[in-house]
C-alpha cells in the first residue's frame, strides 16, 4: 500500500523539478526534448555572454574525427544567481554535457547538465528544465 503511494509521489516530485526556466527564445522552437544527447569532449571556448552562456567543445569519435559543438546554457545572470561563475570552466577542461539536440540538424544543443573533469555534475540553467540533483560548479 505504501509503495503504491510513494511511486506517484516521486513522479510528481520529478515533474516539479523538470519545470522549465524561461529564456528569451522558446526552447521547443530550437531544441527537441525528445532528442537527448550526451557529448564528451574538450572545452575550446567558454562564452560568458548574454543572452546565453555557451560552451564550445571538440568531440573526438572512435575514428579520430573531431566535431565541434556549440552548447547553450542559461544566461550568465541566471547562472550567477544560482552559483556559477565565469571561471567555472576553462579551455582544455574535459567535460560531458547532457542536453537536447537542435531541431535544425546543426551541431548545437541545449545543455541540461555539465559533468566536470572532477566527475561532479552541475546544472546548466537550461530553459528546457534542469536536473534536480545537479548543483552549481565549485569555485575555482
Amino acid at each position: 500500500m505504501r509503495l503504491k503511494l510513494i511511486a506517484p509521489l516521486m513522479a510528481i516530485v520529478l515533474i516539479a523539478v523538470a519545470l522549465p526556466v524561461f529564456a528569451h527564445h522558446s526552447f521547443s522552437a530550437q531544441y527537441d526534448a525528445n532528442k537527448p544527447i550526451t557529448l564528451k569532449g574538450v572545452v575550446t571556448r567558454f562564452e560568458w555572454t548574454n543572452p546565453h552562456a555557451r560552451i564550445f567543445i571538440d568531440v573526438t569519435d572512435e575514428n579520430g574525427k573531431v566535431t565541434s559543438w556549440n552548447l547553450e546554457l542559461g544566461s550568465p545572470n541566471i547562472l550567477a544567481r544560482a552559483g556559477w561563475t565565469r571561471k567555472a570552466l576553462a579551455v582544455g577542461d574535459k567535460v560531458a554535457v547532457e542536453g537536447a539536440l537542435a531541431k535544425d540538424g546543426s551541431k548545437m544543443a541545449n545543455a541540461r547538465t555539465v559533468t566536470l573533469a572532477s566527475g561532479k555534475t552541475v546544472f546548466a540553467g537550461s530553459s528546457g528544465g534542469d536536473t534536480p540533483t545537479a548543483a552549481p560548479p565549485p569555485a575555482r
Binding site: P8, L19, V21, H24, S28, A29, P51, R81, G83, P136
Partner: protein
C-alpha cells in the same frame, strides 16, 4: 499505525501536488512567480520577503523595489479569468496562426512591450513627476510613466512602450498607456495587437512581497471587446540587484528557431 502512515502519505501527496500545481500555473502564466525568473531551479535563492505593504511618508503604498514576474510570457490567454478565451478578431487570429518562432521580437533582442514580462528582475523607481521601470531582461530598457498630471498627446508617435501616464486610485497605482507600435508580441505564441492598443495597468502591492498587476487590454483593431489579464510580481530576495544583460551581445539562436511560434 499502518493506517496512520497511509493517511499521512496521502496528505503529503496532496500538499506536494498542490504546491507543484501552483508553481506550474505560475509558469504557465508567464513569469508570474519568482520561481521561473531565478533560473537554475532556484538553487541558493532566498524566499520572497514577507511583511505588510510598505508606505511612503504621504501614506501611499510604496511600490518601489526589485520585482520578478508580473507580466505575460508563454501565452497571455492563460492569465484570463478561468473559462474565458481571447476575443480575437478574425484578422488577429489569422496573424497569430501565421507567426513563426524566429520572428518573435523577444528572441531578436527587441523590447517585450506591455504587458509581456522577461525572466529577469525589474526595478520600480518612483521619482518626482515620474515612475520608471528599469528592466534587466527585456533588452535592458526602461519605461517612463509621467505622474505630473499631463495628458496623452493628441497623436503620439507609435513606440514599443507607448505614452504612459500614472495616477493613484486609492491604494492602486493606475498606468494608462496609448501610442504603442504593433511590433511587439504579447507572448511566445505570438498573440498580436495593433496601434489602436490602449492598456490600463492597475498595480496593487498587497503585501511586502506581492505586486498584483491587473491589466485591461483594449484594442478594437485586434479584439472584439476589452479583456482583463492578471499577473503577480514577487519581490526579489534581499540582496539581489539588477545585473547587466545586453541581449544583442551574442545572439546566434535566431537562424536556428524553426517552425511556428510556440510557448517555451
Amino acid at each position: 499505525m499502518r493506517n496512520f502512515q497511509t493517511r499521512g502519505l496521502v496528505l503529503l501527496t496532496f500538499v506536494v501536488f498542490g504546491v507543484i500545481s501552483l508553481a506550474a500555473l505560475s509558469l504557465a502564466q508567464g513569469g508570474n512567480a519568482a520561481a521561473p525568473a531565478v533560473g537554475g531551479g532556484g538553487r541558493g535563492r532566498a524566499a520572497v520577503p514577507t511583511g505588510p505593504t510598505p508606505r511612503t511618508p504621504d501614506g501611499k503604498p510604496d511600490l518601489s523595489g526589485l520585482w520578478n514576474g508580473g507580466g505575460s510570457g508563454g501565452n497571455i490567454a492563460s492569465a484570463l479569468p478561468r473559462g474565458e478565451t481571447l476575443p480575437l478578431l478574425p484578422s488577429a487570429a489569422k496573424l497569430l496562426a501565421s507567426r513563426q518562432a524566429k520572428d518573435d521580437p523577444e528572441s531578436n533582442c527587441l523590447p517585450a512591450g506591455v504587458p509581456r514580462g522577461a525572466p529577469y528582475p525589474w526595478r520600480w523607481v518612483t521619482a518626482p513627476g515620474y515612475v520608471y521601470f528599469l528592466f534587466e531582461g527585456n533588452i535592458h530598457s526602461y519605461r517612463q510613466i509621467f505622474t505630473d498630471g499631463r495628458k496623452h498627446p493628441a497623436d503620439p508617435d507609435p513606440t514599443w512602450y507607448g505614452h504612459s501616464i500614472g495616477s493613484w486610485d486609492g491604494d492602486t497605482f493606475v498606468i494608462d498607456t496609448v501610442g504603442y507600435n504593433d511590433k511587439f508580441w504579447f507572448d511566445f505564441v505570438g498573440t498580436p495587437h495593433t496601434e489602436q492598443l490602449h492598456t490600463i495597468e492597475r498595480f496593487t502591492r498587497t503585501n511586502l512581497g506581492t505586486l498584483v498587476n491587473e491589466v485591461t487590454i483594449d484594442d478594437p483593431g485586434a479584439f472584439s471587446k476589452p479583456f482583463k489579464v492578471t499577473f503577480t510580481a514577487r519581490l526579489a530576495p534581499k540582496g539581489d540587484e539588477l545585473m547587466e544583460y545586453i541581449c544583442q551581445e551574442n545572439n546566434p539562436d535566431v537562424p536556428h528557431l524553426v517552425g511556428p511560434a510556440v510557448a517555451p
